[in-house]
Structure formats: structure tokens, C-alpha cells
């Protein structure tokens, strides 16, 4: 249960099925991470989810080049490991390599 919604997560707390994501879930994960969500946060989350749907592998730099936010701004919004934290809130997998 996250944010009052039943969801499946992996050992590290990432949603295993993105279709279960709801904004309340994102809000609740953000609170756990010590982040109070604002419109700027949600703009980034929307962008990440759209990239995920298009199966584009994400990196901090790609987010920085997206026009949605620059890298410094990304760190300001999600200070502790921005891509990891924002991916968790967005209900998408963390960035991985092949092994």
C-alpha cells in the first residue's frame, strides 16, 4: 500500500508495474524521500513517464538536455540522486546497465 493504493514494488521500493501508478502514489513516495511536490516537480515526472512509455533510456544529462529542466535545477528539485529519486516517484524503473 502506497498513498492508500495497493501496488507491487520491488525490494528497493520501485513500482514493478507502471500501469498501477497514480498521482497519490507519487506524492506518498516523495514524502518518504523528504520531498514536497510542486508543479515543477510534476513537470519533470510527466517528462520521465513520457520517455518511459517511449522506451527511451534515461540519464541525468538527457533530462538536462530535454528543455524541461537543466541539470542544476533537477538536482535542486530532487537533491539525493535526482534520477533515482524521480524515477521512484514516477513509478518507473531505476536506470540500469546490462548486468
Amino acid at each position: 500500500m502506497i498513498g492508500g493504493v495497493p501496488v507491487q514494488v520491488n525490494d528497493e521500493g520501485y513500482l514493478t508495474d507502471h500501469s498501477q501508478w497514480k498521482r497519490e502514489i507519487g506524492d506518498a513516495i516523495a514524502k518518504e524521500e523528504g520531498i514536497e511536490m510542486t508543479d515543477s516537480h510534476w513537470t519533470v515526472i510527466d517528462y520521465l513517464q513520457e520517455q518511459h512509455r517511449n522506451e527511451v533510456p534515461l540519464s541525468v544529462r538527457r533530462v538536462g538536455k530535454s528543455g524541461v529542466i537543466d541539470i542544476k535545477g533537477f538536482y535542486a528539485l530532487f537533491p539525493k540522486g535526482p534520477l533515482k529519486t524521480s524515477s521512484k516517484i514516477a513509478g518507473i524503473p531505476k536506470p540500469v546497465s546490462c548486468i
Partner: protein, 411 residues
């Protein structure tokens, strides 16, 4: 006469020229391959040059040697793809019309993307090993380096051969041990991801390697700049890592032809259907290998497995038939761990690397996700397979294009 144009004569492009020439009649189809480079490098060999396991001359041959009869090789710089008018424009003004275009322009390092990378320390104490020149420069440096902090670093994903930086760290450990100077070298592995191993099974089975080899991991590091003067890399959160010798994998980017043609993503990769390999630019444009944005590893084995689907789909397209959604993201990679051993990993879009035997279930002789000498011999034998079979489009026995679950151990 109808025409196929292939851009890039590296692993994927050369292989496709061979595949397509065998299957299309020379009376009906002209095939042209365009690449400004004269040399074909065996890129898996770059890893071995710094440690003098291979000599430079063992990994380079002429591009021309592998282009089959009946395919025109044009060695000029590509200016632009004019996809609206189905033609490729070269820098010398020459134009090539096509009915079908295959993009195989690969990926390359872009050190200019990181502030300070090409500063006063470049190729003095900052090196890459993803280029022929870079790997030779690093070999020369290692010959008389007296030790200190060796930082092996990944700028950002995606990169070509995502396991190569780890292999470099493992081989460095063995190299310095053999030189009896391991005690003088601290090996630090710096990655933008949350660990050296990011997949659950690999992490479970392989984490011991880092401890055994005394390699320190600095995770979640997104490089902001390199301070050449004080020899440190600095990330966006302000974290600093000191180095005496920095071996970095710079940002990887696709060809700037994509930028000039207005068809790439932020990193100049070509938007491509991950199952059919038809691009999202236009129906008559296909892409293969490192040039695409498909979520598979950027590796020669992936290009090889993609080749089968791409060949079929170019033929389907020509005949007005529906395309085959055949490519499953299959990759098969040896991972050198030093001291004559290696791992083997076999995976696809949905199946993470797991333990087991390969290619024959229960027999091997290769072992998945486990170190052994046979895997290392497989990696060494692969150079011959590459030059003699892979890029000339010959079938490699027992290794199907689609990943097989046979021999894989699941929980």
C-alpha cells in the same frame, strides 16, 4: 535499377552489405555503402591494447577487404540525409538516391560534452579506451606509470559495450598484480548508476568480484566537470573524486549526420522500432547497431542478432509485405575478469542475465554469469569469428538470433 544505400561500414553496415548482396539480384538492385574511414577496427580489442594483451596491428584491417563484390564502396564524408527526397548528400556535393536506406553509423565518444575533459590533462593523465588512438595512448602511459589512484569512470549511459569499464577495472587489477605493483595502485570505479551491478541476479552472483579485487565503488556520480589542475572529477551534487590517472568513458553519441539531418534524439540516436528495426523517420529507412535508440545494449553481438531481422524486413518491405517483429533485444557478451577468466552473459529486452550453461543446456561448455577459463577462451576466439564470420554475414552455429531460455537457471 533500384537502390539500397547503407551508411557506415563498421560492424553492422559491413555485415548488412554482405547479407543483402547475397539475397538481392544484382540486375535489379544496386547496393552502395558509404563511410569516410579507410580502416575497420575490431572494437572489442580496444580493451586489451592498454594491457598489451593485443598489439594494435592485430585489431585493424582495411574496410575495403570486407565489402563484397557487387557493392559500391564510397569513401566520403556524409553531409546529410534528405529523407523527404530519398537521397543522401555527401560533403563533396555528390548525391545518392535510394529506395531503401540502412543507417549503421554507430556511436562514438564525445569528450567535448564534459567540461574540462579535453583540458591540459587529456591524454596525459585523462584517457579513454574507446578509440584506437586512446587505447594506444593509455598503453604507453601504463608502461611507466608508477601507481596512485586509478579512477575508472563512466560519464553517462547509454555507452557502447556497457560492461567494458568494469572489464577494464578487473584487467587493471590483474595487470598491476602481475607487475608486482598492485599495492601501489588504488582502483576506484565511479558510475552514474547506483552500483557496478544494477541487475538483481548479476549483483547477487558477482558482487564478490569487487571485494576480491579490492575495487572501491563510487555510485550515483553524475560528472559536472574535470578539474585538470587539481586532478579531480566533480559531480553536480558537489562530490569530488581525486585521481592520479583517470580512465573515463566519455558521453557516447550517435553520428552528427543525424543532427544535420534533423532526425536524431538528444544524443543523435535514430528513433527506431525495437522489434522491426524500421525507423520512425520514414518507412523506407531502417537502422541497425549502435546508431539506433532501441533499448538493447550497444554491442557487436546485438548488431549481429539484429542483422537477421533487418535482412528479412528489408526484403519484406521491398515486396510490400508486413514486417516481422523479430528482434527481441538479444545480447551475448563475454566479460573479462582477469587472470585468464571471463564471464558470459546472455539476455534480451525482458530477460535479465541469469546463471546457467551455454549454448548447450547442462553441458556448456560456456558458463553463464560465472567465471571460468572456457569463457575467456571464447572471448579470445571471438576475434577470429568476428573477422571471418560475423562481419561477412556468415551464420554462427548454435547461437540463434533470438535468445533461448534453454540452459538458463531461473528461481
Amino acid at each position: 535499377m533500384r537502390k539500397i544505400v547503407i551508411l557506415g561500414a563498421g560492424t553492422a553496415g559491413t555485415m548488412m552489405a554482405n547479407h543483402l548482396r547475397k539475397r538481392l539480384s544484382s540486375d535489379e538492385w544496386g547496393i552502395t555503402i558509404i563511410d569516410q574511414n579507410k580502416k575497420h577496427y575490431y572494437q572489442p580489442g580496444y580493451l586489451f591494447i592498454p594491457f598489451e594483451i593485443y598489439k594494435p596491428k592485430q585489431i585493424v584491417k582495411s574496410i575495403k577487404k570486407f565489402i563484397p563484390n557487387g557493392v559500391d564502396l564510397v569513401q566520403e564524408r556524409i553531409e546529410k540525409i534528405d529523407h523527404e527526397n530519398d537521397k543522401v548528400i555527401l560533403s563533396n556535393g555528390q548525391e545518392f538516391d535510394y529506395n531503401v536506406l540502412v543507417i549503421a553509423t554507430g556511436t562514438d565518444i564525445a569528450p567535448q560534452e564534459t567540461e574540462g575533459m579535453e583540458g591540459s590533462g587529456w591524454r596525459k593523465d585523462i584517457f579513454d579506451f574507446y578509440t584506437f588512438d586512446g587505447s594506444i595512448a593509455l598503453r604507453d602511459k601504463l608502461r611507466d606509470w608508477e601507481g596512485g589512484k586509478l579512477v575508472v569512470h563512466i560519464c553517462e549511459m547509454p555507452i557502447k559495450c556497457p560492461v567494458a569499464p568494469l572489464e577494464f577495472a578487473f584487467l587493471a587489477d590483474a595487470f598491476f598484480e602481475e607487475k608486482e605493483m598492485r599495492h601501489k595502485v588504488e582502483i576506484i570505479f565511479v558510475t552514474p548508476m547506483d552500483g557496478a551491478f544494477t541487475k538483481p541476479k548479476a549483483n547477487e552472483k558477482l558482487n564478490y568480484l569487487l571485494q576480491d579485487k579490492n575495487i572501491t565503488i563510487v555510485p550515483d556520480f553524475n560528472i559536472e566537470h574535470i578539474d585538470n589542475e587539481n586532478k579531480k572529477i566533480v559531480d553536480y551534487a558537489g562530490t569530488e573524486v581525486d585521481y592520479d590517472l583517470l580512465v573515463t568513458v566519455p558521453t557516447n553519441m550517435g553520428s552528427d549526420v543525424m543532427e544535420r539531418s534533423g532526425i536524431g534524439d538528444e544524443l543523435n540516436y535514430v528513433p527506431t522500432n525495437k522489434a522491426t528495426l524500421q525507423t520512425k523517420i520514414k518507412d523506407n529507412i531502417f537502422a541497425i547497431g549502435d546508431a539506433t535508440d532501441v533499448p538493447a545494449s550497444k554491442a557487436g553481438s546485438v548488431a549481429h542478432f539484429e542483422g537477421e531481422t533487418l535482412l528479412e524486413n528489408v526484403l519484406h518491405f521491398i515486396n510490400g509485405e508486413p514486417l516481422n517483429e523479430g528482434f527481441d533485444g538479444h545480447a551475448n557478451c563475454f566479460v573479462e575478469t582477469g587472470h585468464g577468466k571471463a564471464l558470459l552473459i546472455d539476455f534480451n529486452y525482458t530477460q535479465e542475465p541469469v546463471p546457467g550453461t551455454f549454448p548447450f543446456p547442462g553441458i556448456g561448455p560456456m558458463q553463464l554469469l560465472k567465471e571460468n577459463r572456457m569463457n575467456h577462451m571464447g572471448k579470445m576466439a571471438f576475434k577470429w569469428i568476428y573477422w571471418n564470420m560475423l562481419i561477412t554475414g556468415k551464420h554462427i552455429p548454435f547461437i540463434p538470433a533470438q535468445m533461448s531460455m534453454a540452459g538458463k537457471e531461473l528461481d
